[in-house]
Point group: C2
Chain length 343, copies 2
DNA sequence: TCGTGCCATGAACGCGCTCTCACGGCCCTA
DNA sequence: TAGGGCCGTGAGAGCGCGTTCATGGCACGA
């Protein structure tokens, strides 16, 4: 009957593990062992398999590996954000680069998931059914329950940027406190005495920690820590904040700004008000993004290595997946002051 | 014998299609039909399955679907670049956002693949074995053979940005020619007569097409098209190019710059040389990135909608995957002039 | 009344791999 | 020489689905 069975539904091209085995003169099992770099394979067999693989340009089918091995061979990078704005953020780009760098060479896919908070349930259902082996989370706001809920479904998680919530989720962050502290110390060393800050949003640890560093620095120098204005990560809000500071304290002679992009607005207002930078008002930013070096004047800023942040997050997650122990629950990465013209 | 078989190796949690079927009182087949939205399912069965799915928080295993259905339910976004620099690029970020936006709601994963040209063989082997159903390519340089080779292995491809090579790969691009033309027309309407350009690299169509637009604009106005300098996408190279232009033609009164980020360097040099913008030299950029609005002075620029570019690429690819016909081989997206202070 | 379609459904096979299990060869010790 | 362990290997089950194929119910016309 089944005369026409030959034309079965289209299958993906490329060799199968079976053919590699045949060419190498071993069994599928041995090929699988070689691929997964397991013990108990003779050098001879290993070489034969490798040769066959390169010869046939064989690449194992991930879907089948995942299904049989009951692991996904993939991790998720989850961006928890209302708008898709984060994607344009150099911070995110750096993290992404770092994650990717750490992943190359291993056979692990990166799934990029954007999650609007109202879709968290869908996201959890998706992640709960084993599509990824672990998750990286960035750009958390306030006390987002997502990391905790991911932990509850048993998925290893590493958060980028200290989360504000209670609980104890492993995270990797830049040392924002010390960064802020160093910025102020630098301004103090310049002889400045009326040192203000434009702080970041209060619902993110980065903002709070940099603010704390600023406070600490002023405390060290026995200077008043009264000049605080707040901004989100836009030049416009930075302009508003600086305007407010100038109105409150016309004698301000330095500002520590929680992000380069905010500092852009600060510089605009300073320029408009006839204040020279750094002669009248010294400005220190944070991030050392591209914006810092191209601003007028080029911005002295606290450099954080976001690519390293991405790498470290990934390293920490993969370590946990590999069952390593002795992993640090959380990590703080050093920052450094980059001196340019503005302070 | 197999007394202890109960403790089988750890499986991912969550219900299986089997349990959904049982709860809904139907067979696995029917559940599968409902999930894949096929015909020949009674309303009653369909409702029962949907109820069971939400009740159990069922989410089908992608690996199993891919394996059984012999399609990956995933597409790749391939970034072909030496360094990982592209990731920080707002252009890339915008495309990524667009791709993602177009993908949400469908059950299609996005795999992000960075490919260094020397790894193209690995990449091809990987893609050839059915890990994705199609590929999106961005940031091609020169006559990269990658898109052709992908087509040869039968993988549907859409390129972002017109590729330079011969052959006919479907692509989506901004209308760079018209963008450049409009920029020059604007400068001409301002009464400028010595209109230079800082062109982009010659190994990318975006650079060439914008340059052609500039040439055309000058031809229309019967002005000489002799002032061309070249730069890559950095402020530094822009500064070098502008310096060269000023040396060659001190009377230059306008510059069309092929990218905002290049224009940053141009502005710096102009400022350093004591040229007022726009009074002495009018400047028009390209992209309308964040840099444009925060530059001093804010940059008049040609806006291209990169998010739309990403969306369109994805739409085109998914259309091909769905077997639709009448799809346009390639598409050009309109640009628009954004007037700010610099011209 | 009996066919003839079409619709709705379920049983069972197989996607390509990993993993368990069994087995045979080897070296060491008794 | 016999026994025991370790190394290297292959056979085969099964991961969770999609997909065919067979079957049975129903409305319709003859």
């Amino acid at each position: 009957m089944n005369v026409m069975t030959e034309i079965d539904r289209q299958r993906r091209p490329g060799p199968r593990i079976e053919e590699v085995a045949r060419l190498a003169g071993v069994s599928k099992s041995t090929v699988s062992r070689v691929i997964n770099d397991e013990r108990y394979v003779s050098d001879k067999a290993r070489d034969a398999v490798h040769t066959a693989i390169t010869h046939l340009r064989y690449s194992p089918n991930q879907a089948a590996r995942s299904l049989a091995g009951s692991k996904a061979n993939a991790i998720a990078l989850i961006v928890s954000e209302q708008s898709g704005r984060v994607l344009g953020d150099p911070f995110f780009a750096g993290v992404l680069r770092g994650v990717h760098a750490e992943l190359t060479g291993r056979q692990i896919q990166l799934l990029l998931l954007l999650s609007h908070p109202e879709d968290h349930d869908d996201l959890l259902a998706y992640l709960a059914s084993g599509h990824v082996d672990g998750a990286l989370l960035v750009s958390l706001h306030g006390d987002d329950p997502l990391p905790r809920r991911l932990q509850e479904i048993g998925l290893p998680v590493v958060v980028g940027g200290r989360p504000l919530g209670s609980g104890s989720v492993p995270f990797v962050d830049s040392d924002n406190f010390t960064g802020g502290l160093d910025a102020v110390r630098h301004l103090v060393s310049l002889g400045r005495t009326r040192i203000a800050t434009v702080a970041g949003p209060r619902d993110m640890a980065a903002g709070l920690d940099r603010l704390s560093g600023w406070r600490r620095g002023l405390g060290e120098a026995r200077l008043p820590a009264d000049l605080v204005a707040e901004a989100d990560f836009t030049p416009e809000s930075g302009a508003r904040a600086m305007t407010e500071l100038l109105d409150r304290a016309p004698d301000v002679d330095a500002v520590f700004v929680a992000a380069d992009i905010i500092a852009l607005g600060v510089l605009q207002v300073l320029h408009a008000r006839g204040k020279r930078v750094p002669e009248d008002v010294a400005v220190v930013g944070f991030d050392d993004s591209l914006l810092a070096s191209t601003a007028t004047p080029p911005l002295t800023t606290v450099r954080q290595d976001v690519e390293q942040l991405g790498r470290t997050m990934t390293w920490r997650l993969l370590g946990e997946l590999a069952g390593e122990d002795g992993l640090p629950p959380s990590l703080l990465l050093p920052t450094s002051l980059v001196r340019r013209a503005s302070a």
